[in-house]
């Protein structure tokens, strides 16, 4: 092992290798609450350094964990004895294509950094998570879903192409159907390098609030929406609506045109930013926000469950993902009750290490096949998903 460590040290610039007590401690946790002390932390600055690390780790069968900002809540980047790849140096934002509305982003760029850079050119990245300090690479590897997924879809839709390395240090350019070999695989088959993502030009903003006393009314309001220009359609139960100073339960809809009856841009922006801040408001109350992917048929039962358990319920009704604020000790109960409904817990921020037992069998089978092809020594993020 000493040989391996000595060689690892040589793979990156002197300041980019860390195995001191404090660094290992600082990389031993993320936002999930899981802890695991890594073997070393490496911060590659370019593709060549990263490729050498992967080849070397493969030779010595060292587990490698790619890490962005460490904001994940499922423990995807925490592993005892692993080599942590801090990808934050992959921080380029270039080639904004104003014809095709795309920009090339390094995996280590945070959403806040990306949107600050894009705002100067009159553009924005639409899939903004609650925690803007998350990196694009981390979010893409989880296939993170946000309220604007209603219009633009998830990371499979927003990423046009992604460059990545597999565990053997082979370079791949993922496009179209191949994107699923990098997006949503939580770093178990590839390390994302750069992504060409779609962006939106700044646009008009209007909104509507439709009363939705029950699931049927919410779905009716959703079905009645125009086919074009709807940015998001968010369900808010009575308590969630009250926190936004609205009358609930209701469906909050935002449009990228004049379609809504609330036309004061400042008011609509405030409303949407409050919606975005809802998770944070609930965190401040000591609650955890968990999610479930639902079909239309499962919606009434899920809303009934939330009402019975007194869980604040809201979320991306348009995207089929609803959120519930539960006591931190009730997270397991939530997942089990959602499964009992026949629905799929998760779907918004990956499964990671914490929820790997809930990964559907067909997804596991697909990932195992992918690992056989791209990571047959199982060094990339072992213990996550599969």
């Amino acid at each position: 092992m000493m040989d391996a460590e000595r060689l690892l040290r040589r793979m990156v610039d002197p300041g980019d290798y860390a195995a001191d007590e404090e660094s290992l401690l600082a990389y031993s946790y993320d936002a999930s609450g899981l802890e695991g002390r890594p073997l070393a932390v490496l911060k590659p600055r370019d593709e060549e350094q990263l490729r050498r690390i992967l080849v070397h780790a493969n030779q010595y069968r060292l587990p490698v964990v790619p890490r962005g900002a460490g904001t994940g809540i499922r423990g995807g980047c925490v592993k005892e004895g692993a080599v942590v790849l801090d990808m934050r140096h992959f921080a380029t934002i270039e080639r904004l294509d104003t014809q095709r509305h795309t920009v090339d982003v390094g995996a280590g760029v945070t959403v806040r950094e990306l949107n600050a850079a894009l705002a100067k050119r009159g553009y924005r990245f639409p899939l903004v998570p609650e925690d803007e300090e998350a990196t694009i690479g981390g979010l893409a590897s989880q296939n993170h879903v946000t309220e604007e997924s209603f219009l633009v879809g998830d990371y499979h839709d927003v990423v046009e192409q992604a460059a990545c390395f597999d565990a053997l240090g082979r370079h791949h350019l993922l496009k179209d159907a191949d994107l699923s070999k990098g997006i949503g695989t939580e770093g178990v088959a590839s390390v994302l390098l750069t992504l060409r993502v779609k962006v939106l030009p700044t646009h008009k903003l209007t909104a509507d609030v439709f009363p939705a006393k029950d699931a049927t009314a919410a779905l009716d309001a959703l079905d009645g929406l125009p086919k074009k220009g709807v940015l998001l359609a968010e369900y808010l139960d009575a308590e969630a609506a009250r926190l936004l100073k609205l009358e609930g339960p209701c469906l909050l809809v935002a449009y990228a045109n004049d379609g809504g009856s609330y036309k004061d841009k400042e008011y609509v922006e405030t409303l949407l930013s409050k919606r975005k801040g809802l998770e944070k408001t609930l965190w401040a109350k000591g609650l955890a926000v968990e999610e479930a992917a639902l079909t239309r048929e499962q919606l009434p039962a899920f809303l009934g469950l939330c009402e019975k358990e007194r869980w604040v319920c809201f979320g991306h009704l348009g995207g089929g993902i609803l959120l519930a604020a539960v006591e931190r000790t009730e997270r397991e109960t939530f997942w089990n009750k959602v499964i009992a409904l026949g629905a799929l817990p998760g779907g918004k921020q990956g499964f990671g290490r914490l929820k790997r037992e809930y990964v559907p069998q067909d997804v596991k089978k697909m990932l195992l096949k992918l690992k056989e092809e791209r990571d047959y020594n199982n060094i990339l993020n072992p213990g996550v998903l599969v």
Partner: protein, 109 residues
Amino acid sequence: MIFRRKEEEKKGADACILCRLCDAGSSYPLTLDERRSLRHAVWLAKNRRESAWLYAAMLNGVGEKACPIGIAIDDAIIDARRRMVEKGMETKENREFFAKLRQGKNPYA
């Protein structure tokens, strides 16, 4: 002070959910050194760990303003530093740190 929450609304480091929103205003985005992140300082305070890196926090109130939970971050870090001193745990690094500061040198170098 107008940006700070009312005293009674503030919470201790134990409430931290490690979201990292406080780090937007810390030196972490510039240095990309996790040890210097405000989140790590709060984690140290939350886990009652003594470390010289508690002194990397600038205590400028920006992180506290950004915290969605309303944690009194600066107070929590000062408390953690105080615990270190009370335990007689002024580290070698800490002594060197202040010596460098007094000499007008870069304390982190």
